[in-house]
């Protein structure tokens, strides 16, 4: 139900934004969802009113705005000249070609055709079956690069998947010829192709990622089967393999494991997941901060309470001390009176009090510093 209502809601919002429909017309069009849709559109409507408030409330400082353009223009860096290869690629991908660009492309095609006809073609053809480590392998890579120049993003995605598949075929062929030392180059090519596919898939114009899911799934399946084969070789008959080969296979498996960790099938959702992870991290951090703040506040509160209690205790002690001191003074007075009365009987008695009165003030002076 919700899966359906989200589509209906976006259809209605799109139509309302384009001025093709009023909210009421939209509700009439979808009577079954009328109640829920009505509330949702109302919430969306209130956000539109909110927008005008935000626009009025938040705007750049007039002084900033006044000098913004001249300041930006003075800070604009010099453009690095676009390289020949970048320009070439740009020409291939730009659908609205300017006349001069169109002419450049025509010239490149003429040169490429000439190269193919007068000798280059044979080399290019021969290179198609080459493997990493072969003399013609760089020609094969260059030919693939040329194919990418003249395509749009959609075709690029298809080509990158095709190239990734070719790299896996090359790995199998290299293994069949016991050329394990050249496999890392093909693996690197496999990874580069998928990285490029990923990069292109995130560009604006590409939205039909789903078309490629099956192909990606097959590629990743092939890759996994290769990993299994390599593991089997090491596990089942390690003695049959030269030490150098075993080392190479182990290195290869390490690289394969790294590749395996990057599940390209989740690429489309990966940014959502990343963003959500990022948001989740934010929540967690915020929650942690809040908890820390709460703990700090609690500690502060507890400390304050303790201080208050201490203060009350100290006041209580002080009162006791004062009472004691008063008692002592009374005792002193009584003693003095007794002394005076006794002086007649025993004139050698010093008349010192039983305890020194200063000991009652000591804690008070300490507590006084503690309160501060």
């Amino acid at each position: 139900m919700s899966d359906r209502i989200d589509k209906i809601l976006s259809i209605c919002l799109d139509a309302i934004e384009r001025g093709e429909m009023t909210p009421e017309e939209c509700l009439e069009k979808f009577p079954q969802q009328r109640e829920e849709l009505s509330d949702l559109l109302r919430a969306a409507g209130s956000m539109r009113e909110f927008e005008s408030h935000v626009s009025q409330a938040i705007s750049p400082n007039p002084f900033f705005r006044q000098s913004a353009r001249s300041r930006l223009l003075s800070r604009l860096p010099e453009r690095k000249p676009v390289t020949f290869w970048e320009r070439l690629r740009h020409i291939g991908q730009n659908r609205k070609l300017l006349p001069e660009r169109r002419m450049t492309m025509v010239w490149i095609l003429v040169v490429a055709l000439a190269a193919t006809v007068f000798g280059g073609g044979g080399v290019a053809y021969a290179s198609t079956g080459s493997l990493p480590g072969d003399a013609l392998y760089s020609v094969k890579n260059a030919m693939e690069e040329v194919q990418l120049w003249f395509n749009n993003d959609q075709a690029d995605m298809q080509l990158q998947l095709q190239f990734a598949g070719l790299r896996l075929d090359e790995i199998q062929a290299l293994m069949a010829h016991n050329r394990y030392g050249d496999v890392p180059e093909a693996l690197s090519g496999f990874q580069n192709a998928l990285d490029s596919f990923n990069k292109v898939s995130q560009k604006d114009a590409v939205s039909n990622f789903g078309e490629y899911e099956a192909q990606l799934g097959k590629l990743l399946g092939d890759r996994d089967r290769l990993v299994d084969r390599l593991r089997d070789m090491l596990d089942q008959d390690p003695a049959a393999l030269p030490d150098q080969t075993k080392l190479q296979i182990r290195d290869m498996l390490k690289i394969m494991d790294q590749l395996h960790d990057r599940d390209y099938l989740d690429m489309e959702g990966s940014e959502l997941e990343l963003d959500q992870d990022q948001y989740q991290d934010q929540y967690q951090d915020q929650e942690q901060e809040q908890e820390q703040n709460q703990e700090q506040e609690q500690e502060q509160y507890q400390n304050q309470e303790q201080e208050q209690e201490q203060y009350q205790d100290q006041e209580h002690d002080q009162q006791q001390n004062e009472e004691q001191y008063q008692n002592q003074e009374q005792e002193q007075q009584q003693n003095q009176e007794q002394d005076q009365s006794q002086q007649t009987n025993s004139p050698d008695d010093s008349g010192q009090p039983e305890s020194d009165g200063s000991q009652y003030y000591q804690p008070n002076s300490e507590s006084g510093s503690g309160r501060n």
């Binding site: 589509k7 809601l9 949702l40 956000m47 860096p77 993003d153 604006d204």
Partner: protein, 180 residues
């Protein structure tokens, strides 16, 4: 005199600084507002707005699209989005909308304005209660007035994800608004 935005973009890509200056003026307020809402700091928003366009200037010749107007807008927003995310990756902050919007006015206001302001503050508090992806989708769609596709580009999501997030966000808003 260059008039259409598409021409301005093409000329900017070819190195025409004045054309790029005009594009900057066109999008200055929008990008500033976008960044200010995310950062809550006017000076930071000014600096980052300028940085967005410096990055755009450098990257423009490398873009390989036909650069239609709509794409340029979402492209610049996307740069702003990435810049804010990068800048605040370590801090990971979310500024409450209520802190970003002016809270009161010293001068007496007509009752209708006061009521509207209260309603807006209430909406801001509701938005602040939404989980971050929901909040972002609502802000992109209704405050920055980006389409479903543009929002998807800026946030790096599929348009279908944006539609689902939008529905869930508005549904949650609806419930929060009903609570009062």
């Amino acid at each position: 005199m260059v008039n259409s935005e598409e021409e301005l973009i093409l000329r900017s890509a070819q190195g025409d600084r004045q054309a790029f200056g005009r594009l900057y003026e066109t999008y200055l307020d929008q990008i500033y507002r976008y960044i200010f809402i995310r950062t809550g700091d006017a000076h930071e928003a000014e600096d980052l707005t300028e940085e967005v366009f410096l990055k755009a200037w450098v990257a423009l010749p490398k873009t390989n699209k036909g650069t239609p107007v709509e794409n340029f807008r979402s492209w610049v927003y996307r740069i702003a989005h990435n810049l804010v995310v990068d800048r605040y990756r370590s801090k990971k902050i979310t500024v409450p909308l209520q802190d970003v919007l002016p809270s009161s006015d010293e001068n007496p206001l007509p009752e209708s304005v006061v009521q509207q302001r209260e309603q807006n503050n209430h909406l801001a508090s509701v938005l602040d209660q939404l989980e971050e992806p929901f909040r972002q989708v609502i802000l992109h769609r209704f405050v920055h007035q980006l389409s479903h596709d543009e929002t998807a580009r800026v946030m790096g999501l599929r348009a279908s994800h944006v539609r689902v997030l939008q529905y869930r966000a508005l549904n949650k808003m609806r419930l929060l608004l009903k609570e009062v």
